[in-house]
């Protein structure tokens, strides 16, 4: 029976023969049942690419679509074992657009097999794959030089590729590299030696996998992110989680790292009886000797030291079609904690050709760059190179809820304890009390020509007449001053909104009713602005005018210009407008005059208690 598990990542360019190699390994390790082999023989005749012979790639190319296209389009997990070891193999595709799958496979792998076509040598993708493997913490690599049959089993071809790969290494952090010449189709040097390459006397691929270091047990001090508080009734309260590093025993003192509280471990509970000890990788339930405030996302630690980060510097692998911009906010999940995170800076991108860093302001799909992030709540974390468990995070889009980025912490920023936000005696509440109003942001959004500014101006006049203190922010007074350095690219639009949201927040602090009138076409940006102020202080007002009507009005002649191509990225013409799904106020301009609609806003403010 196997006594360890090795997680292996396979990566290579399209057509390097990766699926064939994996199929071979599975076949030769006896993993393939007879009825599946029979199906494979049938499939080989129908879809096979090796002239009716058994096509081992078909064993692993699972999805119908990809079998018909003859390429692998997603990450697949395969298992096989030898008497010594169980292997979990993540098969990831080689083409550029699926880098995210490779990163996914690499995140849990102990070793990477980099597949190279002997005829083509080191390709840009090879470099990219090696860089990703290194960045994600894989320290052992097997360089499988495949299709040696098509290179005449020539030792000099193999030697040249080996030499070229060494030249890459200066920038990568591998501890062990094992180059092996193979022919996956026929099995040479896969599980047994090759009679056709007598000049090679090193490990076969399978031997190399058996000789690799399994995942090292994480040493260091005890750390456990609390995953779940187990509290079936008032008699039991246990903290469940998987130990990230170190060991724990009953009697040990543990700290709630963020909260500076401590307790002693009373029991380590399990269904098989209490444990005397547990270590990294063990899922445990800890009972403490006293009640301290602990919830999911907290980290129990042997030392009080781990700093809770207010901000992070990181490498981010971007996995979404929409680029990553400064100012955007996402959910960040690290350990067992999920918080809102704002992208504060994007400085460089890793050029995959040269492995040099290039200065950029945004990250596109499949790009990897240095990104700074600020966090709404502190998160206990560590640099990724110290701990995968406490240093790897994902970014989640707040609308689609999809995973759009993967990050690795490189540095942790904590706000200096001496300069924590000082609670001044004069604050928002006292300022607004003097003005006899509750501050708020009235955020008017809608298409160009919808009537936002017209209604906003009417609202301000009414509020002023009632003795309230207001301020208007619109394109005219912001674009010409504060934001005059910004253009109309998507990145600049995001930054534009971010600054407006920040200014609006400051005015709310000052106790004002802030009237913002901006097209603000993206839900994500409006959500960002909403998050900058307190609960109930943000009113999204959707000025709902059909685009046909906006075009008809076209007060500034902008639609005409956009239609003729003189203006680009014009909302509603060649750029999207994401209508609010659940605005606080919806103003249908076809159903009322600006006066009536302004009255509607003022009544809503009165009903909410913002004005008397």
């Amino acid at each position: 029976m196997p006594d360890s598990v090795l997680r292996v990542l396979t990566c290579g360019s399209v057509d390097d023969g990766k699926s064939t190699l994996i199929g071979r390994l599975l076949f030769e390790c006896g993993t393939i049942p007879d009825d599946v082999m029979a199906a494979l023989e049938r499939d080989s005749k129908r879809f096979g690419t090796v002239d009716g012979a058994t096509d081992y790639a078909l064993l692993v190319d699972g999805l119908e679509a990809e079998r018909e296209q003859g390429v692998t389009i997603d990450v697949a997990y395969r298992f096989f074992e030898t008497p010594a070891r169980r292997f979990i193999l993540a098969d990831t595709p080689g083409h550029q657009q699926y880098t995210r799958n490779m990163v996914t496979g690499a995140s849990t792998a102990d070793l990477a097999i980099l597949l190279i076509d002997a005829r083509k040598g080191i390709l840009p993708q090879t470099r990219r794959h090696a860089a990703i493997a290194s960045m994600l913490g894989i320290r052992q690599v097997v360089l499988a030089v495949n299709k040696m049959d098509l290179a005449g089993f020539d030792e000099s071809v193999f030697a040249a590729i080996r030499y070229d790969f060494r030249a890459l290494l200066g920038k990568l952090e591998f501890n062990r590299i094992t180059p092996i010449p193979i022919c996956a189709r026929d099995g040479d040097n896969v599980t047994g030696p090759s009679a056709r390459m007598p000049w090679y006397t090193g490990h076969t691929l399978l031997h190399a996998l058996e000789a690799a270091d399994p995942r090292l047990v994480q040493g260091g001090l005890f750390r456990m992110p609390v995953q779940y508080v187990n509290r079936p009734d008032h008699t039991f309260r246990g903290y469940a989680g998987t130990i990230a590093t170190g060991r724990v025993r009953p009697g040990d003192t543990v700290f709630n790292a963020g909260a500076h509280t401590e307790a002693a471990v009373a029991r380590i509970v399990s269904m098989d009886g209490d444990l005397a000890e547990a270590g990294a990788g063990d899922p445990v339930t800890l009972v403490l000797d006293r009640e301290i405030d602990i919830s999911r996302g907290d980290v129990l630690s042997a030392d009080p030291v781990p700093a809770a980060a207010d901000g992070l510097d990181s490498w981010v692998v971007w996995m979404d079609e929409t680029p990553l911009f400064r100012g955007r906010a996402y959910l960040l999940m690290l350990g067992t904690k999920t918080v809102v995170a704002t992208i504060t800076d994007i400085t460089t991108r890793l050029d995959m050709e040269t492995l040099e860093e290039v200065s950029v302001r945004e990250l596109a799909l499949n790009e990897i760059g240095r990104v700074s992030i600020s966090l709404t709540h502190p998160v206990v974390c560590e640099p990724y190179e110290t701990s995968r468990e406490l240093g790897g995070f994902i970014l989640i889009d707040r609308l689609t809820r999809g995973t759009v980025g993967a990050g690795m912490v490189t540095a942790i920023r904590t706000r200096n304890a001496d300069i924590v936000w000082h609670r001044m005696e004069v604050d928002k509440a006292t300022r607004s009390l003097m003005k006899h109003q509750k501050p708020a942001v009235l955020w008017f959004t809608g298409l160009s020509g919808a009537g936002k500014s017209t209604i906003a101006n009417q609202v301000e006049k009414r509020l002023h007449a009632l003795g309230h203190h207001t301020m208007v922010l619109d394109g005219d007074n912001v674009r010409h001053g504060l934001n005059r350095d910004l253009g109309f690219s998507e990145a600049d639009r995001v930054e534009n909104i971010r600054r407006i949201a920040e200014v609006a927040r400051l005015f709310v602090e000052a106790g004002l009713i802030v009237i913002v009138s901006f097209i603000s076409p993206y839900r994500a940006e409006r959500l960002l602005a909403r998050d900058r102020v307190g609960e109930g202080e943000f009113l999204e007002i959707f000025v709902d005018t059909p685009i046909e009507e906006c075009r008809r009005r076209d007060p500034k002649g902008l639609y005409e210009k956009a239609d003729s191509g003189q203006i680009r990225n014009f909302t509603g013409v060649d750029a999207p407008y994401e209508a609010p799904l659940d605005p606080e106020i919806r103003l249908r301009t076809l159903e009322g005059t600006p006066d009536m609609l302004a009255d509607e806003v003022v009544s809503a403010l009165r009903a909410r208690g913002n004005i008397g």
Partner: protein, 301 residues
């Protein structure tokens, strides 16, 4: 930890327990889809470990086609009673009304009594997370399944919309009307399941062990005659054979294998030398090579 338990099972067990706890932490209304078979037995055992001393914080949901082996239903009811768990049973009322059965309706039977029934049960229970026992080694399209697998409104699976799954970070966030299916046994093999059952002393349905049972041969497969509803074809008469099952489902659709593995040791010994996949005995998968992927897209578990 038992002496019979190989070290790699500790790794698999730890991963599964972590997944269960993540569901409990992230889900609002989770459910465990309990199908009574060996994988469900392991799933339930892991769930109990994950939340001990509490009971698993979710109900078991069983989709009852009314054609399961009698021994399965007895085992189900005994297990639920013994462990004091909450069981919710659902049968598709449309199928009962139209007398849908595995003899007359073939593929439509699976669609109506399993896939549609499952969707009805999930919708009726308003479950946001459903935990299942599928493993990646079962079938090619399963190999690409995520551990947390998002389903679009209507429970459909879109292979292109699956989220990248990194480290041990499981993104359980859902957009409106999306649901999540979770597979804690993703990285287990059939042999792991049996080795673990043996090491942990987990109860399974007796049909997995060899016994003399009344059978007929049909299309090269051995079908066990489980009750009076069996439809015989001309010339078929039941004959006792020493058989067991590797995979359990609806009795007219589950093929037995000839075996004399009457206890756990014999069964493990047989598993180590067997040359057929467990799905060889599932009649529904052989209609078409991509049938599993098709069924998944339609919402099959």
């Amino acid at each position: 930890m038992s002496e019979r338990r190989p070290a790699h099972l500790a790794t698999l067990e730890a991963e599964s327990i972590r997944i269960f706890r993540e569901v409990a932490a992230q889900a609002v209304r989770p459910a465990l889809l309990y199908s009574i078979g060996k994988d469900s037995s392991v799933l339930l055992h892991l769930a109990r470990k994950a939340f001990y001393p509490a009971k698993p914080p979710f109900p078991l949901v069983h989709i009852d086609t009314t054609w399961k082996f009698r021994a399965m239903i007895e085992f189900r009811d005994a297990t639920v009673r013994r462990l004091g768990l909450e069981l919710r049973i659902h049968t598709n009322p449309d199928g009962i009304r139209d007398n849908i059965n595995p003899f007359d309706h073939g593929g439509a039977y699976t669609q109506i009594m399993k896939t549609d029934a499952l969707k009805q049960a999930l919708t009726a229970g308003n479950y946001d997370f459903a935990i299942g026992g599928a493993r990646r080694d079962e079938e090619r399209s399963r190999a690409k399944e995520r551990i947390f697998s998002v389903r679009a409104p209507g429970h459909a699976w879109d292979p292109k919309r699956q989220r990248p799954e990194l480290w041990n970070l499981y993104n359980g966030q859902l957009a409106p009307n999306e649901t999540m299916r979770v597979f804690p046994l993703s990285n287990w093999t059939e042999l792991d399941v049996w080795t673990y059952i043996a090491a942990e002393g987990i109860d399974v349905v007796p049909l997995y062990f060899a016994a003399m049972r009344p059978t007929v041969m049909r299309g090269g497969q051995i079908i066990v005659v489980d009750d009076g509803r069996m439809r015989f074809q001309p010339g078929e008469t039941p004959e006792d054979r020493l058989v067991r099952f590797r995979s359990l489902g609806c009795y007219p659709l589950s093929a037995a294998v000839l075996s004399d593995a009457g206890d756990m040791d014999a069964l493990l010994a047989e598993m180590l030398v067997t040359r057929d996949s467990e799905r060889a005995g599932r009649l529904i998968d052989q209609e078409q090579d991509s049938s599993m992927e098709r069924k998944k897209r339609e919402g099959y578990f």
